[in-house]
């Protein structure tokens, strides 16, 4: 008695249990009808394997085109959220360049001030700032008498005469001045 055709198909697909598969195999070897059925399954498999899907290449290109367009749109839409893989040395180098850049901008904004202050500092090398706390004029006078540094010119009047204030200080042109008048 021949097995069911569905069972033969299952055998051909190698999906039967090994015990049943052996019995079906021995039956097919001695049965022409079942052997013809298995031969039909083999021819059908060969035919399906050799067939090409109509328009397969065009369909493939069309799908790839759609994927490419979607990729470009997504790239522009989420640019600021994009994660870049940057190595640490490159990141540190970029940070150092940014610091140099902003330092350069600051130097460019205040060149004249720094330049003038440097010049003044060079010229005042012999000058000493007076920073003393005094509580009365006697202390101030004592300090003035004691410290001669910080002056370009020091003059001592070789006279024992007592000097006094003779009115308002004046600054006049020599042409407008005649001594004693």
């Amino acid at each position: 008695m021949c097995p069911d055709s569905q069972l033969v198909s299952t055998y051909y697909d190698k999906e039967l249990d090994q015990r049943w598969s052996g019995e079906i195999k021995s039956h097919i070897a001695g049965c022409d009808k079942c052997g013809i059925q298995v031969s039909k399954y083999q021819e059908m498999s060969k035919l399906l394997g050799s067939c090409r899907v109509p328009g397969e290449q065009e369909m493939k290109l069309r799908v790839l085109g759609v994927i490419e367009r979607r990729r470009k749109v997504e790239y522009h839409e989420v640019f600021w959220k994009k994660h870049l893989a940057v190595s640490v040395p490159v990141l540190m180098g970029a940070a150092a360049l940014m610091i140099i850049f902003f330092a350069g901008i600051l130097m460019g904004f205040f060149p004249s001030q720094t330049r003038d202050s440097q010049v003044v500092e060079e010229i005042r090398t012999h000058s000493i700032g007076i920073n003393v706390q005094v509580i009365n004029l006697e202390d101030a006078a004592a300090y003035i008498l004691a410290d001669d540094s910080g002056f370009d010119l020091l003059i001592t009047i070789p006279s024992n005469e007592t000097l006094s204030v003779n009115g308002e200080p004046q600054l006049i042109r020599e042409a407008d001045y005649k001594r004693g008048q």
Binding site: V86, V90, G93, A94, L97, M98, I100, F101, G104, I105, M107, G108, P111, R115, Q118, V119, V120, I123, S127, L137, E138, A140, A141, I144, L145, D148, G150, F151, D152, L153, L154, I155, T156, I157, P158, S159, N160, E161, T162, L163, S164, V165, N166, G167, E168, P169, Q170, L171, I172, R173, E174, Y177, R179, G180, Q181
Partner: protein, 164 residues
């Protein structure tokens, strides 16, 4: 990665340009502002005659004071002579005077006077500063001090410093 390198190169170039602009300092900027201040400090007697005098020359730049300290028997005078060079080569002269004065040797009282005088002058023009005031009366029985100031710019030339 190419965009990152391009951005870094651009930053470096801009920084270099800015740094190049800030390094154009030239000492000749100072040379043009060099000023010579000639001082003739005189002590005048009771008859307004010159009892003693001292001449000196100090170099400075526009806006930087020549600081003079003058010690007498009973006073200390500090004078700051500051010339400002105008763009038209005229000079604005500022004289600041501070006086610490005691009336007598045995007096413990010290008087303090201060003054600030200014005058626009020509290059090489002489002016006179009276820090203690002017003695108009020839019969006044006291001594006085006058400081003759002459400011010469660098263009005026050192050879004309003694020009009357």
């Amino acid at each position: 990665m190419k965009h990152l390198l391009s951005g870094i190169s651009l930053l470096f170039f801009v920084t270099f340009c800015i740094a190049a602009q800030s390094d154009d300092f030239d000492i000749k900027d100072i040379e043009g502002k060099k000023l010579s201040v000639n001082l003739n400090t005189r002590l005048l007697g009771t008859e307004n005659e010159t009892v003693w005098h001292m001449e000196s020359t100090n170099l400075t730049i526009s806006g930087e004071a020549v600081k003079v300290k003058l010690k007498g028997e009973n006073l200390v005078l500090i004078a700051n002579i500051t010339p400002y060079l105008n763009p038209d080569n005229t000079i604005f002269l500022v004289a600041k005077g501070e006086i610490f004065l005691s009336d007598s040797d045995d007096s413990e009282e010290v008087k303090y006077y201060t003054t600030l005088q200014s005058l626009p002058v020509e290059d090489g023009e002489k002016v006179i500063f009276f820090p203690l005031g002017m003695a108009y009366d020839s019969n006044s029985n006291f001594y006085s001090i006058e400081m003759e100031i002459q400011v010469l710019s660098a263009e005026y030339g050192d050879g004309q410093a003694n020009k009357e």
